[in-house]
């Protein structure tokens, strides 16, 4: 048995099993995230939300998925066929492959690589291609405008996100995600780096094109933005990609600022709970905030969005980065 596990086929089999063990719960999580969002928003707006399919509407995601599967896929006549299909596929694939480096517990990452943070940043910076390709290939002016907006928006917010991540890395001294979580065993970075935490969270809202920054699909002016021409499974892929991205960004926030799998206090009732449960609970907290923001805030105007990214977040995070470096150097807290 050991000889089999050490052989290339055995390694491959283990990797496939690990991937499935991560992806299946993730996709179920994505399905129930759509239901949770509708239920939470309904509660905030004093409605009931979906409650017909199954007990408490619990089978609603599967009914939706089945409906999407059975609809006809329409490809517009003037569209660039290959790219039109590639766009949604790229969006979902990128949202899923980023999970390869996420540590769910101490040592529970499929690939515990040296440059985990850079990998996450690289994958999230690729996310814009799915949208741009979809918008261009649709050959429709609404889709194209949505794609342009989204491209400019994601590139802008990536800059301040990068600076926030650098600030965290200064306090850790490693690019490895497991090391980042271990460095928070005394105090979560959300406390000493509180303003960075807020900036990072708002940037993740912009990065996932979620309200109040969902200008790429603003119904009131662009119908549905880059998704106008999509139907059936191609639309479902976008939908899944968006929610998988939300969960991914929440996982990133959890790892960088909320102490990953660590319990809030390392004392008796808290450290009985296993690490993955804490990790999932923290992700749920972030996701709830995503929905809360959506139910609360009106959409930003595009110039306000750009101003917030370039004129407020960028200088502030740069200043805070320099301040952090100074404090760490003067107090001698720099990690070796």
């Amino acid at each position: 048995m050991d000889a089999f596990l050490a052989s290339p086929i055995g390694v491959l089999a283990i990797t496939v099993a690990q991937t499935l063990a991560l992806l299946v719960p993730l996709l179920i999580g994505v399905a129930y995230m759509t239901l949770a969002e509708r239920k939470v928003m309904a509660a905030m707006q004093m409605r009931k939300g979906p409650n017909v399919v199954g007990p408490f509407g619990l089978l609603q995601p599967f009914a939706d998925a089945l409906k999407m599967l059975l609809k006809e896929t329409i490809i517009p006549a003037g569209a660039s066929r290959a790219l039109f299909i590639l766009g949604p596929m790229l969006t979902l694939v990128l949202a899923l492959i980023a999970w390869a480096v996420i540590p769910v517990n101490d040592g529970w990452a499929i690939a515990d690589i040296n440059v985990g943070v850079l990998y996450l940043l690289a994958i999230s910076s690729l996310g814009v291609y799915g949208i741009v390709i979809a918008g261009w290939a649709s050959n429709s002016k609404y889709a194209f405008l949505g794609a342009l907006r989204s491209a400019a928006q994601m590139v802008s917010y990536e800059v301040s996100m990068g600076l926030v991540i650098v600030t965290v890395l200064l306090c850790v001294g490693s690019l490895n995600l497991t090391e980042i979580v271990r460095a928070q065993s005394t105090v979560w970075f959300a406390i000493p780096l509180f303003p960075m935490f807020i900036i990072f969270f708002v940037s993740t809202l912009a990065e996932t094109n979620r309200p109040p920054f969902d200008l790429a699909e603003g119904e009131s002016e662009l119908v549905a933005g880059f998704m106008v021409e999509y139907s059936s499974m191609t639309y479902a892929l976008f939908f899944l990609g968006e929610y998988a991205n939300m969960i991914l960004m929440s996982a990133m926030t959890t790892i960088l600022f909320l102490g990953g799998w660590l319990p809030p206090f390392d004392i008796a009732p808290f450290n009985w709970v296993p690490g993955p449960i804490w990790f999932i609970l923290k992700i749920c907290l972030c996701l709830f905030t995503f929905v809360w923001v959506r139910a609360t805030f009106p959409r930003y105007r595009y110039d306000q969005l750009m101003r917030l990214g370039w004129k407020i977040f960028l200088p502030f995070s740069l200043g805070w980065l320099i301040l952090t470096a100074f404090v760490l150097k003067i107090m001698g807290w720099l990690p070796a």
Binding site: A122, W136, M154
Partner: protein, 246 residues
């Protein structure tokens, strides 16, 4: 064995997509193939053990530069028939220039000599020193060669300021400016108040002030007083005129 196989797959895709960049008819497809080429190059970096460079290549080139590139190419309105118009006429000149460049490259590579120990270092980016690639690069750039690094930064700064100076135009004096704080401020006009029936706001002691007037555009010539007086004069004159008519 698997590493060698992966190398040949990535290298083959890299070369094929690089060829497609120059041969594909649609410029957007060209840019997308360029992105695929970048991506495979970063995979080759990974295979060589340079994981930091691989990730930086994806973040900087694929994630930022190529997005802007794609952005511009998508918005250009390119007329393909005009692009190919003089192809036959200019082909000989292009061929001559290409041949000269190719010969130069041949001469350069013909006299290229490898150090005797170079062969052992090929595909071996991270010597076994126990420090990671990222730390080693940081040591080199920020400690050993910090002054050269700073000079490179200054040169980029000068280029940036130059670009800004070239595109900066004086704003016309009467252009209106946005004051975001005024725009998003919550004034009394939008507060929600429970108003007692048949009594109105005055009973609660609330007097609705008018919204603050938007800032007036600056006068171009700067003698607003004269204009003001003149306006009053006109007004009086009109009144008199109107009375006479009746």
């Amino acid at each position: 064995m698997i590493a060698a196989l992966a190398f040949y797959v990535f290298a083959a895709i890299l070369i094929a997509s690089a060829v497609m960049v120059v041969t594909s008819r649609n410029p957007v497809h060209s840019v997308l193939f360029l992105i695929l080429a970048f991506f495979n190059a970063s995979a080759l970096f990974l295979l060589a053990g340079a994981e930091f460079l691989a990730m930086i290549l994806v973040i900087v080139y694929v994630g930022a530069v190529a997005v802007l590139f794609l952005f511009i190419v998508m918005m250009l309105d390119i007329d393909f028939s005009r692009l190919r118009e003089g192809f036959q006429r200019y082909a000989p000149i292009g061929a001559v220039i290409g041949a000269i460049l190719f010969l130069e490259l041949l001469f350069v590579f013909g006299s290229w000599q490898f150090a005797p120990e170079a062969n052992s270092l090929r595909m071996n980016a991270a010597p076994e020193t126990g420090i990671s690639n990222t730390a080693a690069l940081g040591q080199l750039i920020y400690t050993d060669y910090i002054f050269l690094f700073q000079v490179a930064g200054l040169i980029l700064l000068v280029a940036m300021i130059g670009a800004i100076v070239l595109t900066l135009r004086d704003k016309p004096a009467n252009s209106r400016r946005q004051d975001i704080a005024v725009q998003v401020a919550r004034g009394e006009a939008v507060t929600l108040t429970a108003v007692p029936p048949r009594k109105g706001l005055a009973e609660l002691g609330i007097v609705r002030r008018p919204l603050p007037a938007p800032p007036k555009p600056k006068a171009i010539h700067g003698h607003g007083h004269d204009d003001h007086g003149h306006g009053h004069d006109n007004h009086g004159h009109d009144d008199k005129h109107g009375g006479g008519h009746h």
